[in-house]
């Protein structure tokens, strides 16, 4: 990615450099050639519509190339490959808390292997921060109340700066760290070193501890939708909208269950806002995402009408 950005940057620099040089040279040459001593009488020229059109249209098309190339790169930057390794990031004043799906936790450091696509799923506990790795030419603001994502693939082992790029208070400039890129072998070793309860495992425990499993059942259709195979599918909602079940959807459904009711279900789920922390939320999301219909013959959530449970909703 860095290479592509640099290539575009060099192209832009060239165009800008040539334009600047042209303007500077033209101004200087004209200013010298037509200085008053040599050219005491100005010739009045009204203007030229053709010239105006030329120097409006040509820059426009040049800019169009900027736009298209830039948009293509941006599209790639915002589209993580499907098989990326996921890492959860929670930002707070003034530190980065990193959770690997394998259960490893780090603060202000992120260890990643070379050659692997890494997708960061980020949220903030307080104000807006921004995850910025200049060496990878990537940056994404980290917002409270929702996930933003970012992905990259490191190619060369080493330590790279991690900065917070969105002003976040007193120690904004201290909210940095390192991205430690390692050979896959070293990385595996490092990963083996720490305590290892995979994130989805933590999520699984939470899932039963919080009683989610009473309604979201995997064998039969419960009061809540079956979550197996839910992730990354399109969900038809009660109000007729179709939404993608991405991380933000799962997150919102936990914190604010009534916002998007799946078709055929009742708005009976209580909110877990204030009950689960951002880290626990990440674990739950990771768990829901891990539910794939491999073992069981469970299909995706059918929009079939569930047994109606009209009166018991306040019990929860």
């Amino acid at each position: 990615m860095a290479g592509q950005v640099d290539a575009l940057y060099i192209y832009l620099l060239l165009v800008a450099g040539v334009m600047t040089a042209l303007i500077f040279l033209a101004v200087m040459a004209l200013a010298i050639k037509y200085r008053r001593a040599r050219h005491p009488n100005a010739e009045q020229i009204e203007g030229s519509t053709i010239l105006e059109i030329i120097w409006s249209v040509i820059p426009f098309f040049v800019m169009l190339t900027f736009f298209i190339w830039g948009a293509v790169i941006y599209f790639q930057e915002r589209t993580p490959p499907a098989d990326s390794t996921e890492v959860y990031v929670v930002a707070k004043q003034w530190m980065w808390k990193i959770e690997h799906v394998e259960g490893q936790r780090e603060i202000n450091e992120l260890h990643v292997p070379t050659g692997q696509d890494i997708k960061l799923i980020m949220t903030s506990q307080d104000v807006i921060h921004s995850f910025f790795v200049p060496a990878f030419r990537i940056k994404q603001d980290v917002l409270p109340g929702r996930y933003t994502t970012l992905w990259f693939k490191a190619t060369k082992p080493g330590r790279y700066h991690l900065f917070c790029a969105e002003y976040c208070g007193t120690q904004h400039s201290g909210m940095g760290g390192d991205i430690v890129v390692m050979e896959p072998r070293d990385y595996a070793q490092w990963m083996a070193g720490g305590p290892s309860a995979p994130l989805q495992e933590t999520g699984k425990q939470l899932f039963s501890a919080l009683g989610c499993a009473t309604c979201h059942r995997f064998d039969v259709q419960g009061r809540g939708p079956n979550l197996v195979g839910l992730y990354n599918t399109d969900v038809l909602l009660e109000d007729g909208r179709m939404v993608k079940a991405d991380e933000n959807y799962v997150r919102e459904s936990i914190l604010n269950p009534t916002a998007k009711i799946v078709k055929g279900f009742k708005p009976v789920m209580p909110t877990f806002q204030g009950i689960v922390s951002d880290e626990q939320l990440n674990a739950l999301v990771a768990y829901v995402k891990s539910l794939t219909p491999t073992g069981s013959a469970e299909l995706q959530n059918q929009p079939a009408a569930s047994p109606a449970q009209p009166q018991k909703m306040q019990v929860q």
């Binding site: 800008a16 600047t20 037509y34 203007g47 807006i128 917002l143 109340g145 933003t148």
Partner: protein
């Protein structure tokens, strides 16, 4: 007409001609004046005070950044310093500077009117500006603000305990000052033009002030209400941008940038108008493609409203919105490019002299070209993701704001100084300062482009040591720049007493403002002029070296 001009500060002279400066000497005659020219002078003084205040903070920033460690001041102090620098420079200097000083002085004269349409509202604008200024100074002296001039939520609403409400109120009040100025200009330009002065005969400075006024009137209210919402969120816990209530912090950014991006055009457009005047005068030519230059001002003002979210490409807006805004952002590039090309083309077959104002105009073209082209890079999303919120952006907007606006302002101030005061500035010193400003400016801000691309984020109090060399260069440039700005201040004051006395039209320039005396009488013209000529009729005016000597 022999212009026997006696400057105000000269000891009693025989039969002084009454002009706006000597028409009343009491403090009251200044503070309660409704004369647009006196109000312009009031603005000139107050804006200059705020410029040096903002500049002082800039120097503190540059000194702190000399070393990678935060050793000059605490992190909190640094955050307050750059916030003050931003707020003062944006709201109390750049936005009012050209419209409220040069525009206030020149708009009525250039269109042959006796005053602005609403002289009392004009005075009210100044008082609002001063009240806002006093408030922001109060904030500064009693603890400051640490949000940056952008007030981003939820930091500003919930996580900082500095004086957001007071600072917001200051910006709100200053905003209304600028709304009233804009409103006054639009009405004046529509209603008060001299007979015969049709729209296609207007000086380009008027066109650009008109466009600026549109932005002031249409954009400022949105930022005003946004700041009110931030204030009530802090005061009364209404939670409109509160993520815990399902509010979206990005909505604040949308509303904020809806004004604050077009605000950039409030700043730059009047300076573009100044440059058009300067180039025409010192090339002795009508501006090439007058119509296109005039309309490009309006086009910039209108397109300026379509591009705000290019400040938010990495903020979490949707992919598609980012692409739309990126595309639209390039649309502003076209009219800006048209202006630069037309100025350059105006030089062709002109008769060019290198008076100080022209040097500033050249400087403007150069720096604005660089600022504009780096702006295109920032509009290119793939690049923006990497360089936004870094020193690249800082360098870019200083090239446009300081390189552009200030070059235009200083050029205009030198150009119209004889008209405003009746005195010439010292040419040699002025040329030196123009040179200092240009060199100092590039030395200060060019390294910041590189700093940004190698990854130094903005608003950093301390930074990794590898960025130090470029930061030292930048600080060195800043000291040259400071000298370049102090110099005019000194010789302008000096010239009030010792400068050569200027006649009505020292540059042999076209335009109504040169057809009245220097300084002009209180009502600008003894008789309402009737305009029968096109703008920039330099073919009818001989250059000043070859004019018949004027009685002095």
């Amino acid at each position: 007409m022999a212009s026997t001009v006696i400057p105000a500060n000269r000891a009693p002279a025989p039969t002084p001609k009454l002009n706006y400066l000597n028409n009343g000497h009491t403090l009251k005659s200044w503070l309660l004046t409704t004369d647009h020219k006196r109000i312009a002078i009031l603005y000139l003084i107050s804006v200059t005070v705020f410029f040096f205040l903002g500049g002082f903070f800039a120097m503190l920033i540059r000194l702190e950044l000399l070393t990678p460690q935060g050793d000059l001041m605490q992190a909190d102090t640094y955050n307050k310093v750059f916030t003050m620098h931003g707020m003062i420079m944006v709201f109390f200097f750049l936005i009012p500077v050209v419209p409220a000083v040069l525009g206030n002085f020149l708009v009525p004269i250039m269109i042959g009117a006796k005053d602005l349409a609403f002289p009392r509202i004009n005075l009210l604008s100044w008082y609002l500006y001063i009240i806002g200024g006093i408030l922001i100074s109060h904030v500064m002296l009693t603890g400051g603000v640490d949000t940056g001039w952008t007030f981003y939520t939820p930091f500003s609403t919930e996580y900082t305990n500095t004086k957001i409400v007071e600072a917001g109120l200051a910006v709100f009040i200053a905003g209304f000052s600028s709304i009233f100025t804009g409103l006054n200009f639009i009405v004046t330009i529509h209603r008060m033009r001299a007979p015969g002065l049709t729209w296609d005969r207007l000086p380009l400075f008027i066109w650009s002030n008109y466009a600026t006024s549109l932005v002031m009137v249409l954009g400022t209210p949105v930022v005003a209400i946004t700041i009110v919402l931030v204030a009530v969120e802090r005061l009364f816990h209404l939670g409109i941008f509160d993520p815990r209530l399902g509010g979206d912090p990005l909505l604040f950014q949308h509303l904020f940038w809806f004004y604050s991006h077009p605000a950039v055009y409030i700043m730059i457009l009047p300076s573009m108008g100044v440059v058009s005047e300067l180039i025409a005068c010192f090339a002795r030519k009508r501006v090439f493609g007058y119509k296109f230059v005039a309309l490009s001002s309006v086009a910039i003002a209108v397109f300026g409203f379509l591009v705000w979210a290019h400040h938010m490409f990495v903020a979490g807006i949707s992919l598609y919105a980012a692409m739309i805004f990126s595309f639209l952002s390039f649309s502003v590039g076209v009219p800006s490019a048209v202006k630069v090309f037309n100025w350059t083309a105006t030089l062709y077959k002109g008769s060019i002299s290198y008076a100080t104002p022209m040097l500033y105009a050249f400087g403007f073209i150069g720096l604005f070209t660089m600022g504009g082209l780096t702006g295109l890079m920032l509009a290119t999303i793939g690049i923006d993701v990497h360089v936004t919120d870094t020193y690249f952006v800082v360098a870019h907007f200083h090239y446009v704001m300081v390189g552009g606006v200030l070059m235009g302002y200083l050029g205009g101030l030198h150009f119209w100084w004889p008209k405003m005061t009746g005195r010439m500035y010292p040419e040699a010193w002025a040329k030196l300062s123009a040179l200092l400003v240009f060199v100092g400016f590039n030395l200060t801000f060019f390294p910041q482009f590189i700093l940004g691309y190698v990854g130094m984020p903005r608003r950093y109090w301390q930074y990794p040591p590898e960025f130090q060399a470029l930061n030292v260069l930048s600080t060195a440039g800043a000291s040259i720049l400071a000298a370049g700005y102090l110099l005019p201040m000194i010789y302008f004051v000096w010239s009030l007493r010792y400068g050569k006395i200027a006649d009505a039209n020292p540059w042999a320039a076209a335009g109504l403002e040169w057809k009245t005396t220097s300084p002009p009488p209180t009502f600008n013209f003894d008789e309402t002029p009737v305009v029968t000529w096109e703008a920039y009729n330099y073919d009818e005016i001989p250059a000043w070296e070859r004019r018949a000597p004027v009685a002095r």
